[in-house]
Assembly symmetry: C2
Homo-oligomer: 415 residues x 2
Amino acid sequence: MTNYDQFVSRAASQMRESAIRQTGTVLAQARDMVSFAPGYPAEDQFPWPELAEISKALLSGSDGSVLQYGPTRGFRPLREATIELMRARGIESQLEQVVISTGSQQGLDLVARVLLDPGDVALMELPSYTGAISAFRNVGATLVGVRQHDDGIDLADLDETLTRVRGEGRHVKMLYVVPNFQNPTGLLVALEKRTQLLEWAERRDVLIVEDDPYRDLYFPDVSTEADTRPIAADDRHGRVIYLSSFSKTLAPGFRVAWVSAPPALATRMEFAKQAEDLCTGGFDQRVVYEAYRSGLLARHIPVLRAHYQCKRDAMTRAIERHMASRVSWIPPRGGFFLWAALRGGLHSRELMPFAQARGVIFVEGSAFFVDGTGAEFMRLSFSAPSEARIEEGVMRLAAAITDAVERVPAAPQAQ
Amino acid sequence: MTNYDQFVSRAASQMRESAIRQTGTVLAQARDMVSFAPGYPAEDQFPWPELAEISKALLSGSDGSVLQYGPTRGFRPLREATIELMRARGIESQLEQVVISTGSQQGLDLVARVLLDPGDVALMELPSYTGAISAFRNVGATLVGVRQHDDGIDLADLDETLTRVRGEGRHVKMLYVVPNFQNPTGLLVALEKRTQLLEWAERRDVLIVEDDPYRDLYFPDVSTEADTRPIAADDRHGRVIYLSSFSKTLAPGFRVAWVSAPPALATRMEFAKQAEDLCTGGFDQRVVYEAYRSGLLARHIPVLRAHYQCKRDAMTRAIERHMASRVSWIPPRGGFFLWAALRGGLHSRELMPFAQARGVIFVEGSAFFVDGTGAEFMRLSFSAPSEARIEEGVMRLAAAITDAVERVPAAPQAQ
């Protein structure tokens, strides 16, 4: 037989399956499992009848280009729409800055390919989004973590880390942040801290990669649109690469997101994308554009806010009822995720087999930490299951914690 | 202002816009242009009413997963369908070998990322497909060309090239070939040569990357299905990575293609794809699957063969009528392309401005040669324009050649 080891690139030999996708596989194998694992939007909230109407019109055949290859940067009216969407968020962007990407994951991959050489450093929040971790690691970058508080990244630790890493002769290209309802913690970075991060990036000559998929999904009972003002809104010197997506507000099955970058970098991203998939799906882009143009998207988003806020309530109620003494957790102010820390030294990896046996899964916190810590955390997604299933899942999780505490030898408290 | 040069990766600093996409931009700027440039399928041949029916059923909302995130390897029934399609081509593939890709361009990019380190060598036909050239170059690979005859690659040159390149201490990972109606030449590799290539790859321990998007589009007047038997059909030792696509037979606006690779490599491709776009569009995959399952695809392909054969006829007739003395050319036996060589020392790059002034564009042959040669060639795509536009375009091209010959100083014959 052929020996493939000799053929595999160094980059590919380092690639690993993401923990989130792994738990997705577990889910697929067990029908009755309550899944708090992948951050899937609620399928019953997709605007099915409206999308069917839009699709019917698009597939009439009157515009052949709907199913043709298209420009690598994307369908121009959709690019213009993203500029209007960004303007509503306070960001001034130009057409030459926008590249439509095949989901935000491709945007992260384009960022990685355009900015990062093997050994270059990307600074990451502790914890941070696994999709970004994978994309940056896959090009051989070194990821260095920075501590995070409830209001966002620790600025002193950020500055010290930069000094230390530069002192080692490494090239620090960027800081990756998710300021709005972060995946995995759900945290909302304070506005003052956003300004400070931008000032820091200017002073220290580092780029900021701002990933903003959850911005529209703030929960009106505890946050406002003003709380979500992106860092990019105050960027006057082309310091920020901004990513956002239609996957959470319309549907992820259309792989449509966008990047807004300084023109010199957007051009490189276009070249990288040409060789990566030529263009994002033409039909998908048209559907998303029509959803925007017709006002469907604007009408739909407040419905989603209310929907996910109710699910957040269901999860926090269930946690308070069934396992308040077992975990500490951050009340989510928007987005899809509740971030919980197990008390008493139990690790989420130890808990996982007990949870699966009880019929519930989540993502282990350590998957989100580039420094190998985070063993006590769990990411619980409340976006996809119904309120009844959320209640059921938290009950199962509480029972699993009891199982685990009884059966796992006590772990040392400090680690 | 921020200086971005310091932030751009070495890989990205080498990336260039593809010649084909560049000419696409020209096309977009001039409405009356006859375009023989991009290899676009004919939009009026997309099965619009059937696709509209399929979409309507899919968007009923009865299956929420249609618009959800999906498995990175793709929608399982579609992966099974590709196995059946490959079986009909003589290829035995297993589920664990198949990865659905976001167009074949992503398949090529995954091949590049999984196999090629900077400095590794990919052997390429002279000429070869620009999309593959871009994908392999973007990971820093060195592309080495091998001469091609009318029946395919020159085996002696192939073996000598391998010996020479290995003698330089380089790692030759693969040979990239498009045996069926190659982009750009339209050539059909002889069956005997396919067997010889496979034997050579075994003996010399090199992988073959077989790109097969045009296989279904043979022209019944001059070729048969048997002529298109893939190299992968005789692969007994996992030597071949096989790529094919639904872009030419259904529509490229759905970005759906597939790769079949030895399991060890398919797994790496899955990991690479996870970080690249998570998954191919769920809706697109369902549409393609339904087109397969319902028999639409099987009914549609013979219609396309007849359609493109008529357009081939229109182009060859027009060339014989208007510029037979100006060019030599290969009669296409399938696919989208006619490959023509300018006589008398004229370079296609010199011709291009005259052609644009006359209202016709093509792709310069040199774009397809990794060794810097090919200046006398043009790739003329006959797939998208109507027969009347093909006639008009060839007339314009003939006039442009006359313009160019009169105005360009005679080039040296040998170069």
